[in-house]
Every structure is written in structure tokens, then in C-alpha cells.
Symmetry: C2
Subunit: 375 residues, 2 copies
């Protein structure tokens, strides 16, 4: 099975553009040979350890696309992860990435220009764009010979604990998952169906750990959401993501004023430009690289959210340790981290940021800090 998948990867390698001898203006300060950025990408499919159920669907795999930017013999790694309900797929991502021509840029450090170009190629496609952004960050970090937490001026020891996600399931499966999550200091409970109180009661029969909760827009009625928020507060839940439909700003603004828990925008907040629009209706935002188009815009989103008095959560999709490691470099800046995506899969292909005693633990390596693993 794994062998077949690796063969699939090898056979579907796609190289965007051929190597050509463009002149390079990057002569300072390390004199690099004239070089161009070679961009490659590989579809891959993640196997999930458990069937994963949220308010709107269940699944056992997640399609991803792994990317590489090679420059002057150094390779930066990136990733797009495409949970099916978000609209991207192997097909849309490879179509988008086929349009990306990085050879026109002489200097990989000009990330603002390069990533503005990538963003301009098409609307949406946020995971595809993130896969370029992450690979470029990894490359530039390696050219600087520094991890991004250092380049951003952050203390990696301030990285938070990560929550571990408990999907919606039958009580015996939930109990089993909670027991498996013994290492984690915070559990994140998926809600939004008619079993919400059963989920909480089942978890509370086993542990008194603090919980975060995510309704994934599953609640249809404002009063129901209000009552559930009070119930959750009484049962040791510390914040709630996206209780109702992302379009219903008025309901969220009302909930923010009338309930005891911070209300965090997830589906309602994708990118930087969304923040001023939703700031009145939520207490904070959940930033995910696959929504934000990557690390550069995610950093800007944290700056903006903080200046507007919002809480910040850093989330993920099911992803390899590539995208998880990329996100983890921002984690010293956030209130809550939910970076368990690589722990939920059985066929990771990178070693990078890990979880040690529940805490997000970054590697002392340049770039995003990953190496390809032998799996």
C-alpha cells in the first residue's frame, strides 16, 4: 500500500518549466552562483489513523500536494492539504501550480513580489498558494541558515501546548480516543450534531482536562447556540470555534455579547482582508496556512488581529509534518494552537516540529525545520 503510493508519487512528478540560464541579481551578501528557482510538485494522499467525522462529513484520507523549490542546490519544501469540503483537490492544485513560473524571479528573497504574483494567478486556491509560500519560506530560511522563529524574532520556548482533536463518534470510540490522547493538556472537541452533550459527557467521564470546542457551523439556531455555550462553559470548555453559519454575522455578534466563552472565527475568516469585516462579531480568529495562503499572510494576520484586540488561534488541516512545522514557527505568538494534523495520519513523509508532553516543540533547523523522513 505505502509502496504503491510512493510509486504513484514518483510517477506523477511534474516539473513546472525547464531550467534555463536566467541571470541572477542575487550577488549579495553570500555570492551565489547564477541560479533559478526550479519548482516541482507531487500529489500524495494521507491515510488517517481514525475515520474523521466533523459536523458536515466523514472521511479516511486527505489529498495533499507536496512542493519543492530548488535554488542553487538548496531545496525548500512545501505542502497543500485539501480536505474535500473546502473545494480544492489534486486536480485544482496541480492545475494552479502548473501556472506558477518562479524562473522569472531572480532573487528568492523578494517574497513580497513573488507571493503577490502567485496570489494574482487566480482567485481562491488558498491551499495551492500556501504550498508555494511554504516552500519559498523553507528555501529562504535555508539561504539565511536560520529557522523562521529566529527570522521572525520569536522565542521557540514560548510555543504553546497543542490541543488534540476528538472527532464526533460513538461513546466507546470517543473514550478510546481520549485515552490515547493522554499526553495532551488540552482536547479539542468537534461538535455541531445532535450528540453534542453526549460528546461532552463522555469526555468528562474520563478526564477533567480543559477543552476547546469547534461546532464547524453546525448549529442552526441562535438561542440553541447561546444555551450550548453556557452549557460548555459550565463543563470546562474554554472557547468555541464557529458555532453557526459563517454568513450569519449578526448571530455571532449577538453571541459574542451574550455568552461567557470567546467565539473564534474559523470558516468566517480566511485571509487578512476578512479580519476587519468580522472583528465586531468574534472574539478571535483561527488562522490556518491552507486558508491564509501561507506563512507570510498568516504572520500579517496575527499582527492585524492583535492590533484589533482579537485572540489568535493557530489551526491546521490533516497535513504532513511539513505544513505543521511551517505553522509552528508562528505558534509563540498565539493564544491557542491546534497543530495535531500530522498526528492524525499514518503515512507522514517529514520529520519536523513534534509534540513533547503536549507542547509544540520546534526543531533547531533552518527554514521550516523539516527533513524528509524514511517512511
Amino acid at each position: 500500500m505505502k509502496q504503491n503510493r510512493r510509486d504513484f508519487i514518483r510517477n506523477t512528478v511534474i516539473t513546472a518549466g525547464a531550467l534555463s540560464a536566467l541571470p541572477s541579481s542575487l550577488s549579495f551578501p553570500k555570492t551565489l552562483n547564477e541560479s533559478v528557482m526550479k519548482f516541482r510538485f507531487y500529489p500524495y494522499t494521507l491515510d488517517l489513523r481514525h475515520v474523521f467525522t466533523v459536523a458536515t462529513n466523514s472521511r479516511t484520507t486527505t489529498p495533499v500536494v507536496l512542493t519543492e523549490i530548488e535554488y542553487n542546490g538548496i531545496t525548500g519544501y512545501g505542502e497543500a492539504s485539501m480536505p474535500p469540503y473546502l473545494g480544492e483537490s489534486h486536480q485544482t492544485v496541480t492545475e494552479f501550480l502548473s501556472k506558477v513560473n518562479l524562473e522569472q524571479f531572480k532573487n528568492p528573497f523578494e517574497m513580497e513580489t513573488i507571493l503577490a504574483y502567485v496570489d494574482s494567478l487566480a482567485l481562491k486556491n488558498t491551499a495551492a498558494k500556501a504550498s508555494v509560500d511554504i516552500a519559498l519560506h523553507d528555501l529562504v530560511g535555508k539561504l539565511l541558515n536560520q529557522p523562521w522563529y529566529n527570522i521572525w524574532g520569536l522565542d521557540k520556548n514560548k510555543a504553546p501546548y497543542t490541543s488534540f482533536t476528538i472527532g464526533i463518534d460513538k461513546p466507546d470510540v470517543v473514550r478510546q480516543k481520549v485515552k490515547e490522547a493522554e499526553e495532551y493538556k488540552v482536547l479539542k472537541v468537534k461538535l455541531g450534531r445532535d450528540t453534542d452533550k453526549e460528546m461532552i459527557e463522555t469526555i468528562r467521564s474520563i478526564t477533567d482536562k480543559p477543552l476547546t470546542a469547534d461546532a464547524n457551523q453546525g448549529w442552526k439556531d441562535k438561542q440553541q447556540a447561546h444555551d450550548m455555550l453556557h452549557y460548555l462553559h459550565e463543563n470546562g470548555v474554554v472557547m468555541l470555534e464557529q458555532p453557526m453559519a459563517k454568513e450569519d454575522m449578526e448571530a455571532h455578534a449577538w453571541l459574542k455579547e451574550n455568552t461567557p466563552l470567546p467565539i473564534i472565527a474559523d470558516e468566517a475568516c480566511q485571509r487578512l482582508s476578512d479580519i476587519p469585516k468580522i472583528a465586531h462579531a468574534y472574539s478571535g480568529i483561527n488562522i490556518k496556512l491552507m486558508k491564509s495562503t501561507g506563512m507570510r499572510e498568516a504572520y500579517k494576520m496575527i499582527v492585524l488581529a492583535r492590533a484589533m484586540g482579537l485572540k489568535v488561534m493557530l489551526g491546521c488541516m490533516t497535513e504532513t509534518s511539513c505544513a505543521i512545522s511551517a505553522a509552528s514557527h508562528l505558534s509563540p505568538l498565539v493564544d491557542w494552537a491546534d497543530l495535531d494534523g500530522a498526528l492524525l495520519i499514518s503515512n507522514d513523509v517529514f520529520d519536523g516540529t513534534t509534540v513533547v508532553d503536549g507542547k509544540v516543540t520546534l526543531q533547531d533547523r533552518p527554514g521550516i525545520g523539516v527533513v524528509k523522513s524514511k517512511k
Copy 2:
């Protein structure tokens, strides 16, 4: 005169804390010897080429304090500039900097932590804080062996033209200054007294270059400001800074709606936290390192202003090429630059960012890109 000033500097060198053998955690990726950050600062006085008159005062000198952070044999340079009407002085800055203990930090890359500590030492003192921020950026850029425009991912060729400031003066002096400013593509006119139309007419008798204008809160009446803004628009002025008292938000909000020129907040916008408060009343903000506490917060201010749809201007005080060079690394991100501060003084002590044919022109050197000059 100059010799005396240099002797003054030598004799007043102040070292904050003595070298001690704290262990360093910075073992990655370049293995540096165990080292601490040694912080030094030197009062200095800039001689202005012309008597400088704005709406509220005239002067011939500007007090500054030059700073250095030495770490592992590498020195980062910084500067505080204290135009007297802003409340800081040689005394207040040296008092503030005497409290700064950088030896407690093991890793200069942890800028977020270090600069939060510096900011917490006292309220205000923004120029003093900037002098630490700039020296730390210069040091970290040198440790990365990269200029900050590269670390921030910017294209230095996108640096804008700088305006050259024409202070309030008699017509013959104004004519002389305009002639001396032949190299500059944009002139910035100081207004806010009863000679405003005379200033514009005098300049327009010599040149049809685009003008920017700065009233420095000099206009007392909303209707007068309104009429002047229309007059300025008809005379080729492209934007106006701070027409009225910074406290009068309502008047500026009204002017923004009822006049043809962008209204830029200068005195009304010092730091990141001011931007959400003034965004409704102004079209943009003028960021100066001496107000923002330095480069790190200035970068965040640009991110925030852009996300809120504001124009961005990058300004300065009369400063050496040290603080001007520091600011210039942000200039590829802004709409207007007013970085003529070092051109207005006769005793600069740094070589760094220059103006070539009116354009802000950055050096290809690590950090903020300055070297001590032989003056």
C-alpha cells in the same frame, strides 16, 4: 567645533552594565561563542544646514543619541533623534537607556521578547526605544548576513522617490532652497502659519514639481483648512499632513470626506495602537521610527494600515544616515517617503542609504546597511 563634539562623544560614552559570562543558548545554526549583548550610547548634536522653521518653532540643531549593541564581535548601530517639541532630550534618553539591560537575554534573535521588555521599561520615550530597536535590527541583520529589505522579503528597487522638505521662510530663502533641491522629484512644503499661500506661490514661481504639504497642526479652523486644501489641490499639492490639532478627530473626519486631497495623520498617529482609533478620520498615516519605537513596530504598522485601507507615508526627523537607513528598508512598502533627514544636517557620522536622482537608494550591506563615516 566638530573636534570638540567628537571629544564630547568620547568623554561621555556610557556602558550599560559590565560584560559577564552568561551562558548563551544561541548554538544554532552558526555556532557562536558564548556571548552577551553589550549596550552603549553616546549623546551627539546634529548641526542643521539651514535654520529649520515649522509651524511651532525654529531651530539650528537637533540632539540625538547614538547607540551600539556589540555581540560576539559584531556591532549593531542605532539612533534616537529628539526634536525638542516632542518631549525627549539628551537627558531623558540617556536616563531611559541607562535602565536597559540586554545582558539578561541570551539570544539577540528573540527580538519580540527583547523589544517588549524595552517597551515595558517606561511609557512614551519612543525615540529612546527606537535607538535600541534599530541597533538590535542592525545586529541581527549582520548575524543573518543580510540587509533588512531581504529579510522582510522586499525589492529594494521598489524604494520610492523621497520628498525634500522646504521649511517656512522668507521668499528669497525659499527660492534658494527650491533651487538647491533640483535633484528631488517631490518637494514637501511646511505650512501652518499665515504665510501659507506666499510659500506655495514662491515655490510655484520656480518649479512645477509635485508638492506634498505638512501643516503640523497649524490650522485652527475647519473651514480655513477646507479652503486651503482646495487651494493646495489647485496648485499641484498631492497630499497634506496633519492640518489641525491631533485631538480634533471630528474635524479631520469631516475634512477627509469634504476635500480632494488625502489627509495623512502625523502627530495624531504615533504607534500601532493608534491606527484603529484614527482610521476613520484620516486617509493615511505618516510612520516615523522615532514615534513608532523603531523598525519592528513600524513594519507592523504598515501591515495594519494596509489591511485597513490606509495610505502609508514613511517620514523622519533630522537624523544621521543611521536612522534614515533603518527606515529606508521599509520604503519599498510605502506610498510616499520623506527621508531627507540626513540631507538637512552638516555633521553626519554614517554612510548608508542615499538619494540618487531623488530616489531612496539602499546599500547592499547587511543589517541596516551603514558604516561609520570618517567625518
